[in-house]
């Protein structure tokens, strides 16, 4: 986020990959592709490829973390060592992925009706196979589709997308280069039913006006992401119709 002044991220009003400022990268969602998981989803968003699997409700582990009032939502985000050009070191959780697991878990807890399964645990596994900026938002989209596919009761199907600031301008859905060389990155997750904010982080600096512009971009793109999520879930059933 240091903001290298030598790199121009906006040329002739277009971004490096030819997008407008308020344009998302192409998003493709597939639901229910893992047979052994209760629910699963694959999200291909620009250069990101993220697989989410949901198991549950299962017996709570570790036992002492079980709650007689509600289920525990355990979320694990992992980035594979071959996920991107950068060195990711060896496989397994690291400082960054442990934080992201916590952040995504807390965001999902707002919509998942955990009180339906006291003393149980719902497991969400998110595997980043290929990373290209904005993986936490893509992971949240994958996790929400996988949860719905697993039949876990939810109040809403959350959507998430990041906004950022590149060359002093607010833009939607930062790619990896824009993320690394831009001035700010704001991932936001929304519940599209009432536009409740489930997740909000900010890396870098933005003025108040810029932030509200970013939020506006995100709120405008939320219905489109929600539509793609619903289409993916619907398709999981239509495919069996055709056979």
């Amino acid at each position: 986020m240091s903001g290298n002044e030598n790199i121009k991220l906006i040329v002739d009003g277009k971004r490096l990959d030819g997008r407008e400022l308020d344009e998302m990268r192409p998003l493709k969602i597939t639901a229910g592709l893992l047979n052994k998981a209760d629910g699963s989803a694959l999200v291909e968003w620009g250069g990101n490829k993220i697989l989410a699997a949901v198991y549950g409700p299962v017996e709570c582990f570790p036992r002492h973390e079980s709650n007689p009032y509600k289920a525990k939502l355990s979320c694990r985000y992992l980035m594979s060592p071959f996920a991107s050009k950068d060195e990711h070191g060896r496989a397994g959780p690291n400082r960054r992925s442990i934080e992201l697991s916590m952040v995504l878990g807390k965001a999902l807890e707002n919509v998942v009706m955990l009180e339906k399964y006291p003393r149980a645990m719902i497991e969400v596994f998110i595997e980043v196979l290929q990373a290209s900026g904005g993986t936490r938002c893509a992971s949240l989209v994958a996790a929400s589709v996988a949860l719905a596919n697993a039949g876990i009761p939810m109040k809403d199907l959350p959507v998430a997308v990041a906004a950022g600031k590149i060359d002093g301008k607010v833009c939607l859905d930062c790619s990896k280069d824009e993320d690394n060389f831009g001035q700010a990155d704001v991932p936001i997750a929304l519940a599209p039913r009432n536009n409740d904010i489930l997740l909000l982080q900010m890396d870098g600096l933005m003025t108040k006006d810029e932030f509200f512009k970013a939020l506006d971009y995100i709120e405008k793109s939320a219905p489109e992401i929600h539509r793609l999520e619903v289409e993916a879930l619907r398709k999981a059933y239509e495919e069996t119709d055709a056979q």
Partner: protein, 207 residues
């Protein structure tokens, strides 16, 4: 008209109490993927874990033997315990039983009663929300499978189905086909045709 709905979708401006529906500010929203009928105000979930109710018939497996009874696995997050006094003879691990849900506690742990031991046979596990389709209207689907395969079949509400004897392979195939196509209409006819076409083949497998 029946339509497919997704979590968070507005179903009605009235309060509806049903599985898979939640009410907020007097309006009803879907919490699960399922079919909703606007006229009849009926919601049928397409996915979801088993939710125990008193009186449900369940298939279970003995997962542990304790000095005074058995731990029974029924596919719920918590296992249930049955006293050895409920059985005439001692059981071993892995034995299959069928029993009724006697009570469901506040934390959704259950106790079982009226057990019977099922000797031999196999269990197949399917999603519990698809069990009504396996049974069919007044048991039509199930009796159709039983007639075609000559198998003994007991369907547990927890989505576990015990099959013994006859053409086990065909019965399993048919039930897995029902699970996969549970949301389509005209399923009884489709399965009838499937059973007829495969009646004579594949008997060597699964015996």
């Amino acid at each position: 008209m029946r339509r497919i709905v997704f979590p968070g979708e507005l179903l009605s401006d009235k309060r509806i109490t049903s599985r898979g529906i939640y009410v907020e500010n007097g309006k009803s929203y879907a919490a699960l993927i399922g079919f909703y009928d606007d006229e009849k105000e009926v919601f049928i979930p397409l996915e979801g874990a088993y939710e125990p109710n008193v009186g449900d018939l369940l298939i279970g497996i003995v997962s542990d033997v304790k000095p005074n009874g058995y731990v029974i696995e029924v596919g719920l997050p918590s296992d249930t315990f049955m006293s050895a006094r409920d059985f005439r003879e001692p059981l071993g691990m892995g034995e299959i039983i069928v029993a009724k849900v006697k009570s469901v506690s506040e934390t959704r742990s259950i106790s079982l009663a009226d057990p019977a031991v099922l000797k031999g046979g196999n269990i197949i596990k399917i999603s519990s929300v698809k069990i009504p389709r396996v049974i069919g209207k007044k048991g039509s689907m199930l009796s159709q499978i039983k007639d075609a395969t000559k198998s003994k079949i007991i369907v547990g509400k927890n989505g576990w189905i015990w099959i013994k004897g006859g053409n086990e392979y065909l019965a399993t195939k048919a039930i897995l086909k029902i699970e996969k196509e549970a949301h389509t209409s005209g399923l009884t006819d489709k399965i009838g045709e499937f059973l007829k076409n495969n009646e004579n083949g594949d008997e060597h497998v699964g015996q």
